[in-house]
Amino acid sequence: MRGTNALLGAAGLAVFLALGEAVPRLGLVKDEYFPPTSRIADALATELADEAFWTALGDTLTGWALGLTIAVTAGILAGVLISVTPYLRAATASTIEFLRPIPSVALIPLAVLLFGTDLRSVLLLVVYASFWQVLIQVMYGVRDVDPVAEETARSYGLGTWARIRHVLWPSALPYVMTGVRLAATVALILAVTAELVIGAPGLGARIAVAQTSQAVPEMYALVVVTGLLGLLINVGARTVERRALSWHQSVRGEVAV
């Protein structure tokens, strides 16, 4: 069953690539707009041999990883703190609901003004966008803690810290992991966006340069690289999630993304 699915999937991928080759060759689309697969693959190979490409990839990954780490740490700390103090939760609810939907790209002009094309510009956008994903999930997770377990821990005289460590954290972990997975994707989108629009060094900036210099196959090759990167991050996040929750594989009302 699994084998057939993989086979069908590979066939689908092959058809997709073949179409990408055939459509421009048959003249259905001008090949200066949409170069055939083989030419994109060529450009990709040239890119891979170029040292500047690897620097750009490293820059993008640095922005992504640093921003994600900051956002996840801050999101978890703030989320737990807000959730365990009912007082804070009531007071912050409206503020969170208001700040969350603010599109992070609105901060682009501010980032440019403050930090120019620095890494800090990228971090500002990445952290702002991914922080909410983690925070909201942590808050859902803490709310979902079984009240019986909570009361039991209380009656055994566990202190606040021990309750957070042994009751609250394990039951909120599935939600936290979903939040981290969502944040990982969002962080990549915002890192590349910041590079593309602001011009901070990285893959996005390389795409912008390829576009302005009419290097169409290179541009497609770089787009493919960002897609592969996104795919890797997705798969990686899912693996981490499965590892961290190997003791807990029940399907908690997780939003499929």
């Binding site: 200066e32 949409f34 996005g204």
Partner: protein, 259 residues
């Protein structure tokens, strides 16, 4: 916290405090990057009324809704087809996973090649970025239709359009809405970015224009407006969702209370 008044005051307290702090902290600020809130708020009505509203905000909103609508129709239609047939799903899955993983903003330069820098480009960018969460969530939702329900429908000879309308789409709708919600925030991002890249009007264009011209208070009003826009759209979305999915939330509350 039972009455409306105490609840309202709790909700308003922190935002009011933060705004007050911002106001006080920035009031005698001379740093040009952080103009005082008083200046920003007095500039706001001058900047965003009349002409600019008609020439920049309205076109942006129209492009956003056009792109979002295209994505919603295409995503739900394709998703239903792909989700209904196991083999089609297996063939398409890897390609779809890859296409979804491409960060949507990199589509702006690609689509610019095909569609120039006009409205078509922006609508295409918005649509092509928004379509993936909707499409994939629809596929998942359609796939997860309760088998008892679909068997029952079959034994009552409910097929074709009726089956789609009364069995498949309603039971997939919570998932479809989850996709639509994600697509909304992607849509706003893409609307702003496509205008920052190449445009002669629109919200994103104007805000960048202010920043480049060092019209800092004006730029701040633009940021505030974008924030407000995101907030208002998410409230509208929640109202629509509550209306359409009212039966589902009710059902979930009941089952949660009984468990």
């Amino acid at each position: 916290m039972k009455g409306l008044l105490p609840r309202l005051s709790v909700a308003v307290a922190l935002p009011a405090l933060l705004v007050a702090l911002w106001w006080l902290a920035s009031d005698d600020n001379t740093d040009i990057y952080w103009p005082s809130l008083r200046t920003i708020l007095t500039t706001f009505p001058d900047v965003w009324t009349g002409e600019r509203w008609r020439d920049d905000v309205l076109p942006s909103l129209l492009r956003l809704s056009a792109g979002y609508a295209c994505a919603a129709v295409a995503g739900v239609a394709l998703g239903t087809v792909i989700g209904s047939y196991r083999r089609v799903r297996a063939v398409c899955e890897p390609v779809l996973e890859f296409l979804r993983a491409v960060p949507p903003p990199v589509l702006v330069p690609v689509i610019m090649l095909f569609a120039g820098i006009g409205d078509t480009m922006k609508i295409a960018v918005i649509a092509s970025g928004c379509v993936w969460p909707i499409l994939l969530n629809t596929v998942e939702g359609v796939r997860a239709v309760d088998s008892v329900m679909s068997e029952t429908a079959r034994s009552y000879d409910i097929t074709g359009v009726a089956r789609l309308r009364h069995v498949v789409l309603p039971s997939a709708s919570p998932q479809i809405f989850a996709g639509l919600r994600q697509a909304l925030s992607i849509g706003i991002i893409l609307m702003v970015i496509s205008e920052m890249f190449a445009a002669s009007n629109g919200l994103g264009f104007t805000v960048v224009q202010f920043q480049r011209g060092f019209a800092i208070p004006e730029m701040w009003t633009g940021i505030l407006l974008l924030g407000l826009l995101g907030f208002v759209l998410s409230v509208v979305f929640r109202l629509v969702e509550r209306r359409v999915l009212g039966w589902y939330h009710g059902l979930r509350d009941v089952s949660r209370r009984s468990s």
